[in-house]
């Protein structure tokens, strides 16, 4: 368990709702949920959530901290925004789900090998290298995330797809050797580092 997680447990002990309100993106909205269930029924991956959004909201109020933060539920969000536009109380549910997932990650509570959590990090790291996504490397990193053997298997399974994309000029081998990026990579990386520091300082202050 991370130090940050231990500190948060100590601080908010019996009030998980308060912890979410203080530390999770748009967390202040959680208490507005009236448990109608429209979000859960509207979610395209609804059946795959161990705890759909409506349930997550009630669990937060019931103090089920471990169950919520170590759940893989939030990682099922496809960012389709169905729940946001349908919520009768206009809760920014998509953002709250992203926020809970990110918070769980900061505390080191994300379930191991959660594929979307992994892909999300791969995407971010890929994009941060040059300020723009390198799609070829993104695909390869995803195929090879579980080791070399599995990577070859994945690449072979998707070989036809890759060939099709190359033929249509929608994938380029040149991306492997450099590829697209912004000119001011250093400035962009410094800027993001600063944003991360500002955010980390706020979390630290809430400890």
């Amino acid at each position: 368990m991370s130090d940050m997680n231990t500190a948060m447990v100590e601080k908010y002990r019996s009030n998980f709702l308060k912890e979410v309100e203080a530390n999770v993106e748009e967390g202040q909205w959680v208490k507005m949920c009236m448990q109608c269930g429209v979000c859960s029924g509207s979610c395209p991956l609804g059946p795959y959530w161990a705890h759909p959004p409506q349930e997550i909201f009630m669990m937060i109020r019931a103090g089920k901290r471990e169950e919520v933060l170590s759940s893989d539920s939030m990682w099922m969000c496809t960012s389709c925004y169905n729940c946001i536009v349908r919520c009768p109380r206009e809760l920014p549910i998509t953002h709250i789900m992203h926020g809970l997932a990110t918070y769980a990650k900061k505390l080191g509570l994300v379930p191991k090998n959660q594929p979307t959590a992994q892909f999300s990090q791969i995407f971010w790291d890929n994009m941060m290298k040059k300020g723009r996504v390198n799609e070829l490397k993104l695909g390869l990193s995803l195929y090879f995330k579980d080791g070399f053997g599995q990577g070859i298997k994945n690449a072979l399974a998707n070989q036809k797809l890759g060939m099709n994309m190359m033929k249509a000029k929608r994938m380029s081998a040149a991306e492997f050797f450099g590829g697209h990026g912004v000119k001011d990579v250093a400035g962009l990386q410094k800027m993001i580092k600063k944003a991360e520091e500002i955010e980390a300082a706020k979390l630290e202050a809430n400890k």
Partner: protein
């Protein structure tokens, strides 16, 4: 001078050799025809899309959009930012709104921006190309320029998620937006306003991380197009286009279907209807050939 001029945010997938390079090529052709000048934001960066949330949390993510807004203000002052990618539009507009609602957050983003010697005032409207077509140009004017009506081509307008929710286009309903159908009609094609899956999620980025779950949804999107007798699907979103087109082989294998449904962009429809060649319309970028459009473009 062009009749319309905007600050253009094409996004990563639109670049040469990237997955929606055919979107950018057809957008360029369409804009030539409609007398729209697009001034690319110099040195624009990735918006981190929606899936970036697990890597970068809220301030770093939105600072990425702040950089694009700042660069646009500096180099293309007074011009609305126009995005062609659903995720680019959404991320930029979402960030811009958050900066407006929360003064502290706005200041924090500017503090981070200062590290790259940039500053944002956040006065720029963030718009989608579909809004330009509908609000600035209009269906009527769009229809007037048609040289080759898309007669007899039945097109399922697949709007998807992020070009529709949470902001919506032209104040239309989230559940049954009609703008793609109206565009198809304006181009002389046969729209399918009752296409049931027009706002169904394709899985988005989870098509990569959760392919089984996503392909089941994509299957439904294609199946409904066949049920409605569609010749092709048209969409405004690069990820929708890719997800619905490129996995059809895998879906056929997984589910025993025999799908071969072309998936094109509205900009390709417009390019062809305005008399441009298949290459100008970037139809050579299709994996599943849009034969009826190719024939018309000949």
């Amino acid at each position: 001078m062009a009749k319309y001029e905007y600050s253009y945010y094409p996004g990563c997938s639109s670049q040469d050799g990237a997955s929606s390079s055919n979107l950018k090529r057809s957008i360029d052709t369409m804009c030539e025809e409609l007398d729209v000048k697009l001034n690319e934001i110099p040195d624009w960066n990735c918006c981190s899309a929606s899936i970036g949330y697990g890597g970068g949390s809220v301030l770093p993510r939105m600072t990425l959009s702040a950089r694009n807004i700042a660069l646009s203000e500096q180099h293309n002052p007074g011009q609305d930012i126009v995005a062609t990618c659903a995720a680019c539009w959404l991320a930029t507009k979402e960030a811009s709104e958050r900066f407006r609602e929360d003064e502290n957050f706005f200041q924090e983003a500017n503090t981070a921006l200062a590290e790259a010697n940039l500053k944002m005032t956040n006065q720029t409207p963030i718009r989608h190309m579909a809004e330009v077509l509908i609000e600035d140009i209009g269906y009527e004017a769009l229809s007037e320029g048609v040289k080759k009506p898309l007669e007899g081509i039945k097109i399922a307008g697949y709007v998807g998620c992020q070009t529709n929710r949470p902001f919506g286009i032209d104040g239309e309903s989230f559940e049954n937006p009609m703008y793609l159908d109206k565009m198809v009609d304006a181009l002389g094609g046969d729209s399918i306003p009752t296409y049931e899956k027009k706002v169904q999620c394709c899985g988005g980025a989870l098509a990569f991380s959760e392919p089984e779950k996503s392909q089941e949804m994509i299957k439904g999107i294609i199946e409904a197009a066949y049920d409605n007798g569609a010749d092709m699907i048209a969409t405004p979103c690069p990820l929708c286009q890719a997800n619905v087109e490129i996995y059809q082989d895998q879906i056929n294998e997984r589910f025993g279907t025999k799908f071969e449904m072309p998936v094109v962009y509205y900009s390709q429809l417009i390019s062809v209807a305005y008399g441009r060649s298949a290459t100008d319309a970037a139809l050579d970028g299709q994996i599943i050939k849009a034969k009826k459009l190719e024939d018309l473009a000949k």
